[in-house]
Symmetry: C2
Subunit: 70 residues, 2 copies
């Protein structure tokens, strides 16, 4: 079973921004897939086991954006 | 003497976009400095000798944007 968690990211404006977020979040252990959309700011992370929200938020911060768990 | 030429670029939305344009234009021979601003779309290229506009426009196109000579 995989776990899917949604976050709201603010500040992304284009595909480069999406790529930056994707690159950082993909470094987290256990991440299986990532959907990220600059248009609505939605980030959907699927992982093998539950991720710590703080880790996901830190990854987004590392990319230069702010996120909140939905 | 250096030559400064201005172009209007459409489609840039953020610093990543600026970086993409800068990276491509900087590959052109003779380019000394580049100013690029996603806010107003202005691209200012300084070069040791006159650049062919077509080369600058092609570089911007390669980055994924459109430009016109001002």
């Amino acid at each position: 079973m995989s776990i899917t968690t949604e976050y709201q990211v603010t500040g992304m404006s284009c595909g480069h921004c999406e790529s930056s977020v994707r690159a950082e979040v993909s470094k987290l252990a256990g991440v299986e897939s990532i959907e990220v959309n600059a248009g609505d700011g939605r980030l959907v992370v699927t992982s093998a086991s539950a991720l710590a929200d703080a880790d996901v938020l830190a990854a987004v911060d590392e990319a230069g954006y702010r996120a909140a768990r939905l």
